[in-house]
Amino acid sequence: MSKRRFLSADERRGLTLVSPPLIYTVLLLAIPVGAIVLFSLWSQDAQDSMKVDTAFSLANYREFFSHPVYGQLLKRSLMISGLVTTATVIFAYPVAYFISFVVPTSHKSLWLFLITIPFWTSYLIRVFLWKVILGYNGVVNSGLMSLHIIDEPLTFILYNVNAVVLTLAHAYAPFAILPIYVALEKIDRSFLEASLDLGENKVTTFLRITLPLSMQGVVAAVLIVFIPTIGDYVTPKLVGGAGGTMISNMIQTQFLKLNNAPMGAALSIIAMASVTAVALFFIFLNRRWLRGRT
């Protein structure tokens, strides 16, 4: 009660307003995530599928480190997410640059709209269509064969890591384009003129002015692509084949097929922790890079 007196009327109103969404998020996100941390320290009762042994132990985590299959899955997932992120951001950057610097202001929102439309349309069917495009009798193969560029269908484009990377890069494209675009829009155009006047050429101006100033958007793009891709089990399952399975497929199996919620919880925690660690390391590297330049 005594603390309330230090809050102004405006602050009190702000807190009152924000409390419904805040309470909702705490109840349905913070507490459940806390619950899976707890679950990961328990173990599954072998007889009753609804029962867990609530004695605390690190058995699930020990299981993770003693079976190399889990570690391999995690490593592969991080690698796929990393590849997806790199590909998505590198291919998205020129598009964001184009919309920000080339498209006339009056057409910008139309272009952004054009780029977001494929993202909002049925995700499952979109992933499935990549299977059709890349498949043995798929669009790419039949197209290349009818043009006599190849004699036999290419097999390295489906049911492997390449296919997963391509499909996810497609799914997350707008997530990369939009933050980079926003950062590019914020750049004061007179900096670029100044740089050109002072004897830099187009390329060095881009490298020394535009790129560092847009790094904030690139970082946002990297995080917003990298973190969620680790949680996708549909794309690996549909186009990944045996060599493209990811940690999420294992989490799904633990929960829904093996009925081992504590192990699934431990895998979820490990996956989330590794993604967060990689993301933080990336932010740290980027800060050092930007600081090193000034």
């Binding site: 049925s122 069917i125 798929g138």
Partner: protein
């Protein structure tokens, strides 16, 4: 000046082709005569669309999903309205942390949200899963989308307008209802449509939380295993794409109108 970016233009067109490739192929296969989804196309037919009408299980799934998407849209937009109002017009302690937490579902891997809720609802609370659990989860993940759209509607709204209403004898509630609400209405409609679209299409979480009654994406997932059902899925997909494009166009129209009403220059984009 224009010719300078020629290479870039070619690249952007190629990129758009890549983005639209699945959407362009979808109707081709939906109207194609063959059961196998591959080239060359064999002939024109509309029988797959007719097939949609003869699948009662699909109708149930669609109805179920529509109910979930409507509830989610209303829930997420209402909660988003509170957050956007607090975030744009008020200062309060730990604001950055609180807003960050509320926006967190946007970057959380969906599977984590799914398993966390599954554990709490089934294992801890011992509840029966159903449409309601999908609604609860979808509201959580749609809220950040609602907030980013509504922030745009609130950001340049002059707080003096609501204050003027208060000075003129309205109370907080009537002031909001008569002045602020109509001004942000386009943002609200846009938010309802976007969250509806996200929920209708969401699979990863729904698969964990839907219980015995499948949502439409969960039903489609089941069909993907049966090759003879694929053309019907293509027909369904074509209809869904047409519906989403329609809804998004309406949402975009209202978003722009909202910005124009608030007197802001359009910076574009939903995210």
């Amino acid at each position: 000046m224009k010719m300078k970016f020629k290479g870039l233009r070619v690249y952007v067109v190629a990129y758009l082709l890549f983005l639209y490739a699945p959407i362009i192929l979808l109707p081709m296969f939906a109207f194609n005569d063959a059961t196998i989804i591959a080239f060359p196309l064999t002939g024109f037919t509309t029988k797959w669309f007719g097939g949609l009408l003869d699948t009662p299980a699909l109708h149930d799934a669609v109805k179920h999903s529509l109910l979930i998407a409507c509830s989610t849209a209303i829930g997420a937009t209402t909660l988003g309205l509170f957050a956007a109002m607090a975030g744009t017009n008020h200062r309060f302690p730990a604001k950055k942390g609180i807003m960050g937490l509320i926006m967190l579902p946007l970057v959380m891997p969906d599977i984590i949200v799914a398993v966390a809720l599954l554990v709490v609802l089934v294992r801890v609370l011992d509840l029966h899963l159903g449409g309601w659990s999908v609604i609860v989860a979808h509201t959580l993940i749609c809220m950040p989308f609602a907030i980013s759209i509504l922030n745009g509607a609130f950001a340049n709204l002059d707080p003096a307008m609501e204050e003027a209403a208060l000075d003129l004898g309205e109370n907080r509630w009537t002031g909001f209802w008569l002045v602020t609400f109509p001004l942000v209405m386009p943002g609200i409609i846009s938010s309802l449509l976007i969250t509806f679209t996200v929920s209708l299409d969401e699979f990863i979480i729904a698969f964990f939380l839907t219980g015995t009654n499948p949502t439409m994406p969960v039903y489609i997932w089941g069909l993907l295993r049966f090759p003879e059902q694929l053309p019907i899925i293509m027909a369904l997909g074509t209809l869904l794409v047409a519906l989403s494009v329609l809804l998004l166009t309406i949402a975009e129209y209202f978003r722009r109108r909202g910005l124009a009403r608030a007197g802001v220059q359009d910076k574009g984009g939903f995210l």
